[in-house]
């Protein structure tokens, strides 16, 4: 700790942190551009000038850049002195000399860091009368708009895009004061993190093109805290709405998960909510009905059948799944997942809960200095994690910096010092991943071999020679590699094992478990070493659903069978996705009393007698559990006006109310009236949920008697927006289920992080305002990062897993994860659909040669009776005798990814 004096007042700050960070951390204002809390300082914009005095006797002082000066004990600093505020005023004046006069037509306006800094630096009158510089713009794809005139050459964009996120196609070009930030030519930005440029760029050079389609200013957008539904990481987001439409999604800072950045899927995949394809009415036997009528029919149907099978979903919230399970009874509950996936998730839970493992957040992941990734293409299955892994490989450079006594935040110096030196990252995947380029070791092998490799690493960690059947499966070279990987894991300061469900292999998850056990044994002396592990799971609430599985839970096929005799409720679940087509068809032909809740049409809903439209995640509240076991709540962003679209949990309570006479287990549910009741029900349902109340404050929470407003305090057009319909204003919708209100009135400050989606503070209109909400810069949110870790401290035991040799097959089809795939999140997003790759089957050269297949040939891959036709892509990284096919939703009669990996046959389709 260092004691420093700022403008005559004494403060305590961290010794060695840069003064800009220290000053902002104290809650004071100091303008800046080029420094970024996650990317450190480069000292290029000169806006953060302060006066630094050496000691008591120094009366003159020096003007220094705050972001480049480490805090030292006894320092005296002038922040508001005339000389430095003049300096900053002149500095911004020069910066603004060429800035265009286009704020009114700039999408950044109203949330622009440049506007804020200009005002903060007290620059009000333009004196420069010369000609202004202009630049041509570029087409940067469907997501990002480019208006180069607005650039102030702070270099944040390239520092994020290239240095931080590893992008290739954005650079600073041209020379001297002509510097141009863009691509070598027009074209879509390739990086899957490109959307962050919108928030990273302090000006309006890069703006959100999807918002521009129907633009509104930040002050006009209604928001609520939400959780991304794109993958299992549960990044915190802030969807924004006006006039019943979601207009954009931005990052919502979470100190342990996404920090300042999210991926492009999280940011741009929201059109499915606004889509015309959304189901909006209730149907009974294809007849449009009112909600109440449909409800009556449902109750009658279940009453007649006497009992009901419930199909849950990984995409539905904890509340929905749990209520469904309680409604139908655990013996009639099915997770809606294929049996194999259920087993994998159970094993993941087992390793998380019972092995000597430590669950780690993305933030903690960034501190790991040796990472083994087994079977996951993180860029596709957990993009934000891939970004964290990239940062983790920089730990070596920080160590080098520490040795040479360069502060870690001296970004340019640290990067120059380290050059390409990186901490070890071992990427063991089926085929090439974008992270391979920073991996110290890349291994491309079939899932069976990856499993064997994992067990070999575990054996080596325990100093054993691996079993003969493992050695047999592994090629000779991999056995050696396993030894060196084991050695690295053993000596690393903080090793980490990343696994997951993408390859649909239980054995691979067990291999991760075995490594964790072996590593814990190898490194425990005296104290128990808990191996950090992280598993990437298929969907947003996979882990939550796994927590509900018990011995009674019906297997999918069993449940569909039983469903044909009884009534069946399908909760946002498209069962077709998970079964061989013929099996699904046959089973569904006999289900006569299906009841579906779905947002969009799907094949399962088509087969149901009663259809309810489901609310999307922005139209209801709910809780999801991410891959780390963190339960996080999302809230209604706007009130759904359509009376047929009700919250998922309310639908189930309504059914329970109707059916309580004939279904005994429905009685306790019928007594629940509001979301708080449901939360308490969840809390009391199992010990693992005992801390459920801490997920987020309940609906009675108030600050000085006030609710928390969803609308910014300067929300405009309140008396006019609906005036064309009715000039007398309607009462704002009420929200009795959460502490949030649908107006601009309410608590202006002190909002708990779990309830706050608006990053705004007086004078700080852009998202840079987040520094006012953190306990320290880049740290936790003040009041604690939202969410509750359900799987906390435990002792752990030596779990042992055994290797079973996979059956060998001539040719194996494995599933390939894709970020922009063909599921509704991407396909219905007008922007992302343009960025989606076409679906291809990837084969290695040797395999292709053997089968006589050329690049681009249309091939037919058959697994059992199901098949799929795809163009072939010959990729050197794919191992022999393997074909890798996309795992996204398959339409009509196509092979379901749930069946993979499986032996297959390939025939060339005659063209």
């Amino acid at each position: 700790m260092a004691n420093i004096e700022i403008d005559g007042k004494h403060y305590e700050v961290k010794e060695g942190e840069n003064l800009l960070e220290a000053i902002l951390g104290l809650g004071l204002d100091l303008p800046y551009f080029c420094w970024h809390p996650a990317m450190g300082s480069v000292g290029s914009c000169r806006q953060c000038a302060i006066k630094v005095y050496q000691d008591e006797n120094d009366t003159r002082g020096k003007i220094l850049m705050g972001c480049m000066t480490p805090a030292k004990d006894g320092m005296r600093i002038g922040l508001e002195e005339e000389q430095v505020s003049d300096f900053r005023d002149h500095c911004i004046e020069v910066t603004m000399a060429n800035h265009p006069h286009d704020c009114p037509v700039c999408e950044e306006g109203g949330e622009c860091h440049l506007q804020d800094v200009t005002i903060m630096s007290e620059h009000t009158t333009r004196r420069y009368r010369g000609k202004k510089k202009t630049y041509e713009n570029q087409y940067l794809g469907p997501c990002i708009n480019h208006e180069m005139n607005r650039c102030i050459t702070c270099y944040r964009c390239v520092r994020f895009y290239k240095d931080y996120a590893g992008g290739k196609d954005l650079a600073a070009m041209a020379s001297r004061e002509n510097t141009y930030f863009g691509r070598h030519e027009d074209g879509c930005l390739e990086s899957i993190f490109s959307g962050n440029l919108v928030e990273v760029c302090p000006t309006g050079v890069f703006t959100d093109k999807t918002l521009a389609r129907s633009y509104n200013r930040k002050w006009d957008l209604q928001t609520a805290p939400s959780i991304c539904q794109g993958c299992s990481l549960g990044c915190n987001i802030a969807p924004a709405e006006r006039q019943g439409k979601i207009k954009r999604i931005t990052n919502r800072y979470h100190g342990e998960i996404n920090g300042y950045f999210i991926c492009d899927k999280g940011r741009f995949a929201y059109d499915h909510i606004n889509s015309d394809l959304r189901l909006r009415d209730c149907f009974v036997e294809n007849e449009k009905t009112s909600y109440d009528e449909a409800l009556q029919h449902t109750v009658k149907l279940i009453g007649e059948a006497g009992s009901c099978i419930g199909f849950g979903s990984e995409k539905a919230s904890m509340e929905e799944n749990l209520l469904l399970k309680a409604l139908v009874g655990s013996k009639n509950f099915c997770s809606g997942m294929p049996a194999a996936r259920e087993q994998q998730l159970k094993e993941v839970l087992n390793i998380y809960k019972n092995a000597r493992t430590e669950l780690i957040s993305l933030k903690a992941l960034e501190a790991c200095d040796c990472i083994l990734v087994l079977g996951e293409d993180l860029m596709a299955s957990a993009p934000r994690m891939a970004l964290s892994v990239r940062q983790a490989t920089r730990n070596l450079s920080f160590e080098l910096a520490d040795q040479t006594r360069i502060p870690r935040w001296q970004d340019e110096a640290v990067r120059t010092l380290a050059q390409n030196e990186r901490s070890p990252l071992i990427m063991a995947t089926v085929s090439g991943s974008e992270l391979d380029e920073i991996a110290s070791e890349k291994i491309h092998a079939a899932p069976a071999q990856l499993t064997a490799f994992g067990f070999a690493v575990a054996a080596s960690l325990e100093g054993k020679t691996c079993l003969p059947e493992i050695a047999e499966t592994l090629a000779g070279e991999l056995t050696e590699k396993a030894k060196s990987v084991a050695a690295q894991l053993r000596t690393a300061k903080k090793p980490l094992i990343i696994g997951g469900c993408s390859l649909n292999s239980l054995a691979l998850i067990q291999a991760c478990g075995q490594i964790a056990t072996a590593l814990s044994r190898a490194r425990s002396n005296g104290t128990v070493f808990k191996t950090p592990v992280s598993f990437v799971l298929p969907e947003v609430n996979s882990l939550g659903l796994a927590l509900l599985l018990d011995d009674h839970t019906l297997k999918l096929e069993e449940a569909v069978q039983k469903g044909s005799e009884k009534a069946a409720i399908f909760l946002r679940a498209d069962i077709y996705k998970h079964l061989p087509f013929e099996v699904a068809e046959k089973m569904f032909s006999s289900i006569s009393s299906g009841i579906s809740f779905s947002e969009l049409p799907n094949r399962t809903a088509d087969k149901c007698k009663i259809n309810f439209p489901a609310a999307s995640f922005v139209e209801q509240e709910g809780t999801v559990v991410n891959n780390e076991g963190r339960a996080q709540r999302y809230f209604e962003v706007y009130a759904q006006a359509n009376p047929s679209i009700k919250e998922g949990w309310r639908n189930l309570l309504n059914i329970a109310k109707g059916i309580q006479g004939s279904l005994a287990q429905a009685k306790p549910l019928a007594e629940l009236a509001c979301f708080d009741d449901v939360s308490h029900f969840v809390r009391n349902s199992a010990p693992v949920f005992s801390t459920w109340d801490q997920v987020a404050p309940d609906s009675k929470f108030r600050i000085a008697g006030m609710k928390i407003p969803r609308q910014p305090h300067r929300y405009s057009g309140r008396t006019s927006l609906q005036a064309n319909i009715k000039v007398a204003e309607n009462k704002a919708p009420e929200d009795s289920d959460s502490p949030l209100g649908f107006t601009m009135e309410g608590a202006p400050t002190q909002r708990p992080p779990a309830l706050n989606a608006l990053t705004w503070s007086p004078g700080w209109n852009s998202n840079e305002a987040i520094n006012k909400f953190q306990d320290e810069i880049g740290g936790h949110l003040r009041g604690g990062d939202p969410g509750v870790l359900l799987l906390r401290e435990k002792q752990g035991e030596d779990l042992q897993f055994s290797f079973t040799k996979a059956q060998s097959a001539e040719l194996v089809a494995v599933s390939q994860s894709r970020l922009f795939d063909s599921c509704e999140l991407t396909v219905l997003s007008a922007a992302l659909v343009q960025r989606a790759d076409i679906r291809v089957a990837m084969l290695g050269e040797a395999t292709a040669h053997k089968l006589g297949i050329q690049d681009g040939d249309l091939i037919n891959i058959k697994v059992g009776k199901d098949g799929i036709s795809l163009p072939a892509l010959i990729d050197r990284s794919v191992p022999e005798n393997l074909v890798s096919i996309p795992n996204d939703i398959h339409t009509q009669n196509e092979l379901s990814a749930a069946l993979l990996p499986a032996p297959c046959q390939i025939v060339r389709a005659v063209s």
């Binding site: 009114p104 064309n724 009715k726």
Partner: protein
């Protein structure tokens, strides 16, 4: 002293007031016989709001929303749209005059001189719903009080008929390929 003050207060001032009223009987009236006669209203009078056009006849409003956010009664709403050349314009523009207090803050906030208050106050309606004006009721065919200003001439943004560097006081676009000093 106090006595004198009371005498003034209760007697003299009352007599003076009566005299003042009486003497006004012989002066010229300031009021006019409205509606038979129209009073003079200065151009800066704050009455019915209009949306004006650029000197070249194009819609001036760029849908920046500054008027809406500055309006103390929140009675302006609009939605931004963009034509193929990048020019912003309001898809709809609505003022609920039954809420407007004619404060003129919208006019002050407008960076394009589009929204202007005019010397017309005859807006009474029997039906309040008719006080809601849409863009078609607001947009006039002229420049209003500010004849020469055109925002896009000075904005730096390329829109139809004006490429980068062709605006007022703009240098031609930077040649990024040149390395010359």
């Amino acid at each position: 002293m106090r006595i004198l003050y009371l005498i003034y207060d209760y007697i003299v001032s009352n007599v003076k007031s009566v005299w003042d009223v009486f003497s006004h009987t012989f002066t010229k009236a300031d009021t006019v016989e409205y509606p038979d006669e129209m009073p003079y209203l200065a151009p800066r009078f704050r009455g019915r709001i209009v949306l004006t056009r650029d000197p070249d006849g194009k819609e001036r409003c760029v849908a920046c929303n500054l008027c809406a956010v500055s309006c103390p009664t929140d009675c302006i709403s609009l939605q931004k749209a963009e034509d193929e050349t990048g020019r912003w314009y309001p898809e709809f523009f609505r003022i609920n005059f039954s809420r407007c207090v004619y404060c003129g803050l919208c006019e002050e906030a407008c960076p394009t001189y589009s929204i202007q208050l005019t010397p017309d106050f005859e807006m009474a309606e029997y039906n309040r719903q008719n006080m809601v004006y849409e863009k078609e009721h607001l947009l006039i065919n002229g420049t209003g009080k500010y004849p020469n200003y055109s925002f896009y001439n000075v904005s730096g943004k390329a829109v139809s008929g004006r490429k980068k560097g062709e605006g007022v006081n703009e240098a031609p676009p930077v040649d990024v390929k040149s390395l010359l000093p």
